[in-house]
Homo-oligomer: 422 residues x 2
Amino acid sequence: MARINEHYLKLAGAYLFPEIARRVEAFAALAPELAGRIIRCGVGDVTEPLPASVVAAMHRAVEEMGTREGFRGYGPPWGYDFLRDAIAEGDFRERGIAVDREEIIVSDGSKTDAGAILEIFATGDANRIGITDPVYPVYVDTNVMAGNTGPARPGGSYEGLVPLACTEENGFVPEPPDERLDLVYLCFPNNPTGGMIDRPRLEAWVEWALRHEAIILYDVAYADYVTDPELPRSILEIEDARRCAIEFHSFSKNGGFTGVRCGYTVCPRELRGRTAAGDAVPVLELWKRRWSTRSNSVAYVVQRAAEALYSEAGRRETRALVDGYLANARALREGCAAMGLRVHGGEHAPYVWVGCPDGLDSWGVFDRMLEDLQVVITPGAGFGRLGEGWFRISAFNSPANVAEVVRRMQDAGRLTAAPATG
Amino acid sequence: MARINEHYLKLAGAYLFPEIARRVEAFAALAPELAGRIIRCGVGDVTEPLPASVVAAMHRAVEEMGTREGFRGYGPPWGYDFLRDAIAEGDFRERGIAVDREEIIVSDGSKTDAGAILEIFATGDANRIGITDPVYPVYVDTNVMAGNTGPARPGGSYEGLVPLACTEENGFVPEPPDERLDLVYLCFPNNPTGGMIDRPRLEAWVEWALRHEAIILYDVAYADYVTDPELPRSILEIEDARRCAIEFHSFSKNGGFTGVRCGYTVCPRELRGRTAAGDAVPVLELWKRRWSTRSNSVAYVVQRAAEALYSEAGRRETRALVDGYLANARALREGCAAMGLRVHGGEHAPYVWVGCPDGLDSWGVFDRMLEDLQVVITPGAGFGRLGEGWFRISAFNSPANVAEVVRRMQDAGRLTAAPATG
């Protein structure tokens, strides 16, 4: 009799985005005359077409794969050198950060990486794990599935994970805690709050991690949205972060790769974990072994697509995509302000984080925005206990749709607990 | 201090194929004048270009992704319906097997699936796990990494995994054991032996699994190499297998997708696992949750490529590819026979399984074949204790290269323990 992984049974309810999809479908079925008006600012999914240089690179790679000379079978387990070199040069060395090819592992995206990284660490209560609240739910759910938590608590958190509060008071950037932690998830620019960390506060985290021999799992999926050169785009800009951090990169939100599937991690050679007996083990060696045994890397065509993002044209096109989404974010901030709401984020991130008006919780706002405005947002409660009282509005949409959303917001006037229609 | 997953430290040496690559590189460095002569029949990697219908489908999909109307971001977590429907129809319903879309999960390949499936089962000694010997090493290594084994034993096996012997005597098809097992890996047509199971023996396995409430992890990556219609291409052809099997499919070896990365699993709705308390849990629900939380599925372009394999042209082209590799396998059988070796497999599989001559072990044959003939094979010892005394020769090559390998074998004459050169 095969025994299942019972940790899965602790998972509280459906994953956030399927639940949103369910409510949108239900609304469209109840009010079919309004279904065509629905504009989705919920899931953080890009909407603009792939850059021309990416399209051209993919066509070339497909062509190669159709010829005997150009055909490529299994690729190197950690990604092709052409891509790892382009990454090392374009994202690090050009910015004065020493990262080399061997420290870069190409993957099919940050969601995969966020779950996979837990495979190389001990499970159960071997590590004390810190996770921001609110947070990208995948960090939490993958820990539950790996057996690193106790049961769910009311509100969606889990026993055994240490919450790091991100509040309006601390500008949505947590301070390092007084206690020991072994693994800490940080993400800046932040999903969902759109908040951004400055260099002194990131230095404080690195110093804290070195003192506690903790490892920071640092997610920079939104690095290209940082528009202020004084703000850190990579934790590896901080001295000594190589001894305490693994960095997670994605091409989803800059190159528009949500449907292309490519990202990468940087695991510095110096980074060490420990056995129960206290022996130091290079984390990179475990991480490489994870990938060579569990995967055959990413499609050749996809790796050529990612490489094209580092070409001169690719960078220009990426910049234009990101600038477009940032302009959307600015417009959405204004729209939300017009509804009398407290607004954060959206300056160095494609997400605007908005306070719920008195008398409405975040699923309440979700339902009101859907029913009254036909605009889909993401309720903050889906991101953790401290996400309650907030909602996330995504700038990933066409400028025309964003203008329409803002117009609807302005027409609707102040969002209050009393329904605007019906 | 972050604690690592110490199960990784049990892994015995490098993964097989990196070790082969290392020896080939070392030989090429020592004998650069012979390096150009090397023909690789080691790794089971296809060599022929992608089918024209696949190339055309990928071009179309790339084109779509470059337009606002055609662009696709995040896809459904378990694969697009167009592909799941094509699979359900083409691989099952047309053959009279009832499988529907919802039971099919698209992935980036069988290697990923083989590791990922363990995530939904309990680890440690909660399940008794049977693995054939010899075997595709990924089944073993992923169990080690998941913590399902004790330490390595001499010869490369691990305490805690129950070996199912595949020998010349049983035609490389193990009988169901007398003891209880909870999870059993079977692969037919087999990698590495090229052996094939017949229907009565597969029925015996299904009957055994139902009696013991075991789950069979059934790998049919090579199903299209079955040329005898009396032999089972899918375990789901057997009555009641829906209550005891998960099937693993790959497009690597029929469509030539080793560099495209796509495969799928079929997890029947009726399949149940148990909690420690004995409650039955539908395995499909856990498996779907695994994929929706840990991945964002496979590139749209890749899913369109896989769909094209089910078109009329795609089927014709796939058949031609497989027939070509099967013709290679026949030629290699003859070449090995010319060297006075015992030959198995290669009839319903792209692998020929060859006995080592007296006085040479399988790494010895590897070195002799490399040094004397400049032909790379895979030593049987890399596949398990009972693989020693055998080697695998892969038919994945161009017809011209295979003809050249056969010519070299015939020229070399009998392979004996005494070196032919030097």
